[in-house]
């Protein structure tokens, strides 16, 4: 089942490192790719849209990031090939507990979940189940 590729988009390197350990140890995947901001992730997704089979199955996306934040990346994703949105399970992963952020996330029909930090094994189990169900 460790065939999934996970994009982890977060400006906090401590979080990325800790989350990667948690993700890999949970058995979800061995392939966690790190992106410091939305722009880095966007550029990679545009590249991969030409070869959709290489797109990640899951993207864990932080909201508050420099250069391009999570909302800005989501707006950009509206403009790319639909295969990008259709192929990836996108989950917001944020420390924000503001209701307005949660509400805003509902305006993006291609968002699959909203996870509040800290990331837990229970969150990853849910993720694992939902990706299996999709397959």
């Amino acid at each position: 089942m460790k065939t999934k590729k996970v994009f982890l988009v977060d400006d906090d390197f401590i979080f990325r490192e800790a989350a990667e350990v948690l993700i890999t140890s949970s058995g979800l995947t061995d392939e966690v790719l790190h992106f410091e901001n939305g722009l880095e992730a966007y550029n990679r997704l545009v590249e991969l849209s030409e070869t959709p089979e290489h797109l990640p199955e899951i993207m864990l996306l932080d909201i508050n990031m420099p250069v391009m934040n999570g909302w800005e990346l989501l707006e950009e994703l509206r403009q790319v090939k639909s295969v990008v949105r259709d192929s990836i399970q996108i989950h917001i992963l944020t420390s924000s507990i503001a209701p307005e952020d949660l509400n805003l996330s509902k305006e993006y029909e291609f968002i699959d979940g909203y996870i509040t930090k800290p990331l837990t094994r229970a969150d990853l189990k849910k993720l694992s189940r939902s990706t299996v169900a999709e397959e």
């Binding site: 979080f15 490192e17 800790a18 350990v21 420099p66 420390s95 924000s96 930090k117």
Partner: protein, 606 residues
């Protein structure tokens, strides 16, 4: 045959219309002018009977016809007839019985003009609701005309008495006053003319005008008579108008409203007293021309205000504007002007009337309100930023700690444990740093007594540069300082040092690789306002993208690992606390210029 009247007068020679008729009104004799009086000419066939002459005989005279014997006393009656010219004429007809001639002398007097005048007076009295009254003090009888009864709302057969008449006057001051006047008039003669309230027979209160006079015989009042007018409608309207006028006067006086009246054709401007107070102008010094008003308007508002007047005269817009005036003592007042243009039948503007209100206090309150609103908005923004810091930085670090401690407990690999501990330390340090920054922000925002003083700009900049000397030497930028030696700004020394430090280290941090960093610091003073700019040739900022959040908390724009997104936020808070402004102009790859503006403290205080 001619008939003699008495012994010497021939009837035919009498110069007025007179005739002798029998009991059937047959005309037996007449004066020569008699038929001519009725418009008959000599050639006309002359009627022999009075009925043929004047038409129908009044009923009151018809008894004569049936009675063969003569009446003992003269009888008179008013008769009307249509003359041969087609005019309605009124006559007083008098019949004098003459036994010797077994007939009546008939005399006519044309009373048409009197009748018309009488009818008009009756009509006028009715229209004006004027009735008459009379008190016969000798026989103690009272007479009220029909109109007087109508005013009292009593039936036409009502018989008044003096006490009853007085009792119609409203109890209290009105009744007491009429009693006093009647008593005084009877005792001393003379007359009265006053307004009262009566309560009619139907219970309606009504304003009346009562005019009374006395007839004195042998030094004693024998008759009191006068007229009585229903003035209820006009009096109530007048009271209402008076109330409105009083209210208006009180409102105008208490609200500092000045009224002006401009005769456009003759260029005559009339002000009421409030206008002189409003403009602080002496009546004697005011020429009464529109130019006198113009000269008081603040130069910056003059053209616009005159334009507003012109547009009102041309009918393009209502005159409804605000402008400032300069009073004789040099103070500035804010005036709200309203006006209405009056036009002649050809639509030419002939007059303009309006009001001026001193709205200086409202303006001042409005400005205060705006400042308060501004402060509240800033505080709201600060609260949002605090929410952000709690949500983002505190929570992100605390959640890191939560995750890492869990992983530490789960994992027994010493190497991994060591790494987790290291990550816990970093997160813990970050948490501490966040708390320190938060404390600093709170200190700036909550300190009501910041110590404002004159700060030497060049000296402060030199101190800051010295404090980062090692860093500066390492990067070795060109630093060009163009600051007047003695330039001082009114602010908080530690804040100014902090801002200078932040801007300089930002320039060092966000320099372009492989290009020698250049920093230009300029400072100058104009009209008491000081401006300091920090210009670099660094990476610049995408203003279109980040301009609105540049000074927000934890906003970074270059993806630089060292960027914390707190420096500009703190600088902005410090500038706000000093009531100064910070602004940035920048383009990506074109460097950035931060401009600090410190207003003249004298104007800020005022």
């Amino acid at each position: 045959m001619s008939l003699k009247i008495g012994s010497s007068i021939d009837m035919s020679e009498l110069p007025f219309p007179v005739a002798l008729v029998d009991h059937r009104f047959e005309i037996k004799e007449h004066s020569e002018v008699f038929y001519g009086y009725f418009g008959f000419l000599g050639s006309d066939r002359l009627p022999n009977n009075l009925e043929d002459l004047i038409g129908r005989i009044p009923d009151s005279l018809m008894g004569i016809k049936r009675k063969k014997s003569l009446l003992k006393n003269p009888i008179s009656e008013f008769v009307s007839y249509v003359s041969r010219k087609g005019e309605l004429r009124w006559h007083k007809l008098v019949l004098y019985p003459d036994v010797s001639r077994s007939g009546y002398f008939l005399y006519f007097e044309d009373v048409t003009q009197k009748k018309i005048a009488f009818d008009l007076s009756v009509q006028a009295a009715h229209t004006a609701k004027i009735g008459s009254w009379e008190v016969d003090l000798v026989n103690n009888k009272i007479y009220w005309s029909d109109m007087t009864k109508e005013i009292h709302e009593v039936p036409k057969d009502y018989t008044p008495d003096l006490e009853g008449g007085i009792n119609f006057y409203k109890k209290g001051e009105h009744r007491e006053r009429i009693m006093e006047l009647v008593s005084d008039t009877i005792e001393n003669g003379g007359s009265f003319d006053e307004e009262f309230v009566i309560v009619t027979a139907k219970g309606n209160e009504k304003w009346v005008r009562s005019i009374g006079s006395t007839e004195i015989v042998n030094g004693k009042a024998t008759r009191l008579f006068g007229v009585f007018q229903d003035i209820d409608q006009s009096k109530r309207a007048s009271i209402k108008y008076q109330v409105l006028t009083d209210r208006m006067r009180v409102a105008v006086e208490s609200s500092n409203i000045g009224i002006w009246d401009y005769d456009i054709v003759n260029n005559v401007l009339v002000w009421d007293d409030n206008m002189y107070d409003l403009y602080q102008v002496n009546k004697e010094d005011f020429s009464g021309e529109v130019e006198a008003w113009e000269s008081t308007i603040h130069p910056d508002d003059r053209e616009r205000s005159l334009q507003a007047v012109q547009e009102a005269i041309e009918g393009k817009k209502q005159f409804n504007t605000e402008f400032r005036i300069k009073t004789s003592d040099g103070s500035v007042r804010h005036i709200h002007g309203l006006g209405k243009v009056f036009r002649d039948e050809k639509e030419n503007a002939i007059r303009m009337v309006g009001a001026n209100t001193d709205v200086s206090r409202i303006k001042k309150a409005d400005n205060r309100l705006r400042q308060l609103l501004n402060t509240t908005e800033k505080q709201n923004q600060s609260l949002l930023n605090f929410a952000h810091i709690v949500s983002h930085n505190l929570r992100s670090n605390s959640s890191n700690l939560s995750m890492l401690t869990g992983m530490l407990l789960e994992n027994t690999n010493p190497e991994k444990q060591q790494r987790f501990l290291e990550m816990i330390r970093i997160s813990s340090d970050r948490l501490d740093e966040t708390v320190v920054q938060l404390n600093e922000v709170i200190k700036i925002q909550s300190d009501p007594n910041i110590n404002l003083q004159w700060v030497h700009v060049k000296g402060t900049l030199t101190e800051v540069l010295e404090s980062i000397n090692a860093h500066v030497e390492e990067i070795s930028p060109n630093i060009d300082i163009q600051i007047e030696e003695n330039l001082k700004i009114y602010g908080v020394k530690p804040y100014i040092s902090s801002i200078f430090l932040n801007l300089l280290t930002n320039s060092l941090k966000y320099r372009k690789p492989k290009i020698k960093l250049s920093i230009v610091v300029e400072a100058y003073e104009k009209d008491g306002d000081a401006t300091i700019s920090f210009k670099d040739n660094g990476r610049g900022i995408d203003m279109e993208r980040h301009g609105d959040k540049l000074f927000g908390m934890y906003k970074t724009f270059h993806g630089n690992k060292d960027a914390k997104g707190i420096g500009l936020f703190i600088s902005k808070n410090q500038m706000d606390a000093m009531k100064a402004e910070i602004e940035v102009m920048s383009e990506v790859d074109q460097g950035a210029t931060f401009v600090l503006r410190f207003p003249n403290p004298k104007q800020t205080k005022a």
